[in-house]
Every structure is written in C-alpha cells, then in structure tokens.
C-alpha cells in the first residue's frame, strides 16, 4: 500500500518546517559553531533548524498516519489582492506620493471583497481617509512621507 496523505494540514506544515529548517541549517554552516561553553553564532541556529527538520519529519509521518480535516478553500483572490495592494503602497508611497499610494491601496484591496462595487459614497470615504492620513500622520506626527512624490516634483 503506497502512503496516502490523509491529513493535508499536517503534510503542508511538515513541508514548511522541513524547508525552513533545511535552508536554515545550510546557511548556518557558514557560521562558526563553537562549543557548548563557548557557543559560536552558528550553534543555536543549527540546533533550532535541526529541531525544525525533525518536526517536519514528524508532521509528514502524522500526515500519512492520522486522518485530518481538509485545508478548505483558499481565498486566492483576497490573498493576492490584499498583498498586491500593500505592495503597491510600498512601491508608490515615495515615488508617486502618499495621496496616490493610499488611493491605490484602497482600490486594489477593496476589490478583494465580494461586496466591492463602485459607489460615490465609498469614493468620498476614500478621500476623507486620504485627507485624514495627510493631516494626522504627515502634518501632525511628522511621518516623512511626501504627499506628492518624486515622479511629479522632478
């Protein structure tokens, strides 16, 4: 009987532990290991990553032995759009300025909701948010984000 994965959550957690631990151990080879009384910078990272790999193996065994619930539907659209909106903010905030960055963040992330529709009320709300952030964070608290970025000011 070939092993079948009956606990998918365990399986993926196992892979995650193995990947993190494996990468961590490989990189830690470049750090001096030292001895127990004089630990080098590589001592504990190797230990922790070794344990992570061990946990990975245990999880994989559990994935075959135990029966677990399915992972369930993955929210690809919100996942992608929310992360993309934050990326857009990071990329635009200095170059295009805070005003445009917030508008991009709000529009892209809002599209992740299944109740996203274009409405004037929501647009007005977005402009209030832009004004609020400009006044409180930039003017009031002195966060060094340009309202209008380098693209426009040259």
């Amino acid at each position: 009987m070939s092993p079948t994965i009956r606990a998918p959550k365990e399986f993926w957690m196992g892979l995650l532990y193995l990947a993190l631990g494996g990468a961590g151990i490989l990189i830690a080879q470049h750090y001096p290991f030292g001895t127990a009384s004089r630990m080098g910078p590589g001592y504990l990272p190797s230990l922790v990553c070794g344990l992570l790999m061990l946990f990975g193996v245990i999880s994989l065994v559990r994935a075959v032995r135990l029966t677990g619930e399915p992972i369930g539907e993955i929210a690809f659209k919100p996942l992608f759009l929310v992360l993309l909106s934050v990326f857009a903010f990071a990329a635009l905030s200095l170059r295009a300025g805070l005003v445009i960055a917030i508008i991009a963040l709000v529009l892209i992330s809002a599209a992740g909701s299944r109740y996203f529709t274009f409405s004037w009320k929501a647009m007005a709300g977005m402009l209030v948010l832009v004004a609020f952030c400009s006044l409180i964070f930039v003017r009031g608290l002195g966060v060094p984000l340009p309202l209008i970025g380098t693209w426009f000011t040259g």
Partner: protein
C-alpha cells in the same frame, strides 16, 4: 511606609496633564478600534504603537496600557451587541451578553460589563501593588540560568494554552526562535540570516511580524469567509441595572475578579483563560443555572470582570520579570525596548516613576473606561455597523503607514507582505501564530542567557538542574507539559476550545 511613598509617586506621575491626556486618548482610540469587528487587542496595539514612538517612555506605556483596556472593552461591546467577538477572550461575552441584548437588555449588559471591569480593575491594581515588589525582589536574585529556565517555563505555559495541536505550537515556537536569529549576533558581531541586506542588520522588528501575521493575515482570512453580515446592533434603551440585577452580580464580579487576577499572573495566562475559566465556574455555582446561555446577567458579569482582572495582572510577570505571558505583553515588552528600557526586575528600582505611574494609570484608565463608555455607546454602535468591506482598506492603510514610520523605510512594508502571507498560511494550516511571536521576543534573550550560563559553567548543562530556582522552574515546566499530554486533560482542553468555536 514605603508603599505609600511609591503610590504617591505613582499618582504624581499618572496625574500630570500630559499623561492623563494620553491615557484618555489611549482608552478612546483603543475602544474605537477595538469595537471594530475582527480586530483584537494585539492588532489594535500593533496598529497604534507607532503613534507612541515620539512620546517619553512613561507616557507611551501609559497610552499603550490605555489602548489595551480600551480594545478589550471594545471587543466585549461588539460581542454583546452583534455577537461578533473581536478576539478570543470576548467569545465568552457573546454567550450570555448577546442573549441579553436580544431580549432588549443590551444596555444593562454593557453597564454590567463596565461596572464589573471597573471593580476588577481596581482590585487587580491592588494585587499588582502588593505582589509586584516582592516578586521583583526575588527576581533580582536571578542569574542567567534562572532567567533561561523561567523563559522556558513561560513558553511551555503559553503552548499549553494555545489552540489546536501541541506539536504545531512547539513548531511555531521554533519558527519564532528562527526569526529571532535574523540580524547581528550580539556575542560575535556576525550577521546571521541577513542575506547582506543592511536593513536586516538590526534584526526583524516585532511590529512588522505582529502586523503581518495578525493584521494582514487576519484580514485575508476574514475576506475568505466573508458573508453578507447584516449588523443589526441591538437597540439600547436602559443602561442602569435594576436593584435585583445589582444583587445578582456582586458575587460573580468578586469571584471573577479573584480567579481572573490569579490566572492572569500565571505565565501563559491572561484575559482569555480567565474569561473561560470563570464562566464555567460561575455556571456551576450560580443559583440561576438554567438561565446560562439564555441571557444570565451573571454570565456577563463574572467573565467580564475576570478578563479585565487577568488583563491587568498579566502585567505583573511583564513588569517584574520581563517575561511576556501573552502576545499583548510581548508587544508591551517590544515597546519598552524601543523606548530603551530593558524589561526586568530593575525597572522598578531604576525607573520607579515609570513603574508606579503605569500602575496608577491602570486604575485611572479603568475609571475613564467606565465614565467614557456608557455615554459614548451610541458612537460605538455606529462604528460597529460600518460594513467590513469599508473597514479593512482603512486598517491596511494604517498598518502600512505605521510600519513605514518604524524606520521611515518602505523595506519594512515589503517585509510585512511576507509575514502577511505566512500569517494566512499558518491560519489555514491550523497553526496559531501567537507562540511564534512570544518566542520571537524571548528567543534573543534566551540565547543570551543560555550562552552566559554555559560559559560560567564551562559548558555543563547540569547548572540548569542543580541551581534550585532554575531546577524548580524546569520541573514545573515538565509537569505542565505532562499534564497536557495526559489523555483526560487533553480531551477537556479540546472541549474547552470547541465551546469557543
């Protein structure tokens, strides 16, 4: 009496106009954001933390503490009015609180929660005043080995209370340690896991991890299960509990306060455990057992008091030992480190005005909550009824600006994206991110203590067992672990968390 001198110093610090103003602002903002469905205290504090960076250390901690109670109380308000708990400790409030609201007694439920919280807050403040100084005195005797073992105990205790699989709670701790390695190694000055990126030289910032896994991760998860959520906030007519109500809530409030205060001190304890434990205790003790689950006022009074008492007393291990017992306290420790204060027993002796000012301001903050919340409840109801799809873009905006302001660098925002992704993955795979955050904060300290202890003992690990305090702490940790592994307790633990789901 030294105690009175200390308290006087506390009042002197807490009652300055600036500190009062920031305490008020903290409570107000904390409640305003805490009432928003789906935002718990951790996300609220992480989001508002950057606001406190420019403040003096005392003021910033006072404001953060205010945000914490505010968020906690705001969460209960939402739980009572619309049956949507913002975080796990508010789940209990939905059981009877929402039932009361459905019977037109929403106002009374809210007032009961506020009064219970205030009484609990007052008593818990006294508990802190009485117990924190002796505990800090003991902690001053601690050496590297004792600290290491204490942190081990703290982490084990936090696992015991984590949801779901024990294995993955451990796994998340390891991941937290791993993330803690990133940056410059204190002893050798060597860069670890920084991939030559200068921004990683000082290590990862815990705010980025907290906002990514708790903020972004939660938003994505909420959107995945988004339903048309008609928020029908119950009408609030009458706020004042009747004389009969008062008679019924006195004992539950006191019982809740004492159990909550005790559970809050334990490492790994805090508001959630306190609320759950008290609710089940009250259900057994109450003469109105049949009403539980159908709007028993005791079912609101006791857990609300316990959760506030637990929230307060969980400051004790944080302030005296420098050990966070839950993610909120981990954030507080992070905030202290940002302010240049090393949390631990020396805070009380070296920064007495900060220590006592914070404690007194806890009581003042609770008073403000009581005065503020009942009149403003109309505003909170309006805030609650804002649909989620209008809300989360605003939350994201605050997260982005907040993370940027940590180092005035967009690099941190990119990092937050990675942790947001990881936060969602962990959630989907049934692994709780809270132990990871604790381990991330404790990891670098533990590495320091471990190395120092082993350096002194010439590499002999027996030092951890044969030092009496350290040995005792480790024994407690092992016992805790064995208890969870015992089948009977394992089962009831599963049941306790199922009740919540």
């Amino acid at each position: 009496m030294e105690l009175f001198g200390n308290l006087a110093l506390g009042f002197e610090t807490a009652l300055t106009l600036t500190n009062l103003a920031y305490c008020f602002l903290g409570v107000l903002l904390g409640t305003a954001i805490g009432v928003l469905p789906g935002l718990g205290p951790v996300a609220t504090i992480a989001m508002l933390l950057p606001l406190t960076f420019g403040l003096p250390a005392e003021t910033s901690l006072i404001m953060l503490a205010g945000i914490y109670y505010g968020a906690q109380y705001g969460g209960s308000t939402t739980a009572i009015l619309v049956n949507l708990p913002g975080e796990s400790s508010a789940v209990v409030a939905t059981l009877d609180g929402y039932q009361m609201a459905r019977r037109g007694r929403a106002g009374v439920a809210l007032a009961t929660a506020a009064i219970g919280s205030f009484v609990a807050g007052t008593i818990a403040t006294l508990v802190i005043v009485l117990f924190a100084p002796p505990l800090a005195g003991v902690a001053l005797e601690f050496g590297a080995a004792e600290y290491f073992s204490l942190m081990v105990l703290g982490l084990i205790a936090s696992i015991v209370l984590a949801h779901g699989s024990l294995l993955h709670a451990f796994g998340m701790i390891l991941i937290g340690f791993f993330l803690g390695f990133v940056g410059t190694d204190v002893n050798s000055g060597m860069q670890r896991y920084s991939f030559g990126v200068p921004e990683l030289g000082d290590g990862l910032n815990f705010v980025i991890i907290a906002m990514g896994t708790f903020g972004l991760g939660e938003i994505i998860a909420n959107l995945g299960t988004e339903m048309s959520r008609d928020v029908h906030a119950a009408k609030i007519n009458n706020l004042m509990p009747s004389r009969e109500d008062f008679r019924r809530i006195v004992k539950p409030i006191l019982r809740g306060t004492f159990l909550g205060s005790f559970l809050g001190i334990l490492p790994g304890g805090g508001a959630m455990l306190a609320a759950f434990a008290t609710y089940s205790m009250e259900k057994k003790l109450s003469p109105h057992q049949a009403e539980f689950g159908h709007g028993a006022i005791e079912g609101v009074a006791a857990p609300e008091s316990a959760n506030n008492a637990g929230a307060q007393t969980s400051f004790i291990p944080m302030l005296t030992l420098g050990i966070p017992s839950n993610p909120v306290m981990a954030l507080m420790i992070g905030a202290m480190i940002i302010q240049g204060i090393q949390p631990g027993p020396s805070v009380m002796t070296e920064q007495p005005s900060l220590f006592w000012g914070l404690i007194i301001s806890m009581w003042i903050g609770n008073l403000m909550l009581l005065v503020l919340n009942l009149p403003l409840v109309g505003i909170w109801v309006k805030l609650i009824s804002v649909p989620y799809h209008f809300l989360y873009p605003v939350i994201l905006t605050f997260c982005c600006i907040g993370v940027f302001s940590l180092n005035n660098s967009t690099f941190d925002i990119y990092l937050m994206i990675i942790f947001g992704f990881m936060g969602y993955v962990f959630r989907k795979l049934g692994a709780e991110p809270a132990p990871m955050l604790l381990a991330f904060i404790l990891g670098p300290m533990m590495e320091e203590y471990l190395r120092r202890a082993l350096l002194l003992s010439h590499g002999d690990p027996a030092v951890f067992i044969f030092s009496p305090i350290s040995g005792a702490l480790l024994v407690v940790a092992v016992i805790l672990l064995l208890l969870v592994l015992l089948p009977s307790i394992k089962r009831s633990r599963v049941e306790a968390f199922q009740e919540e789901a």
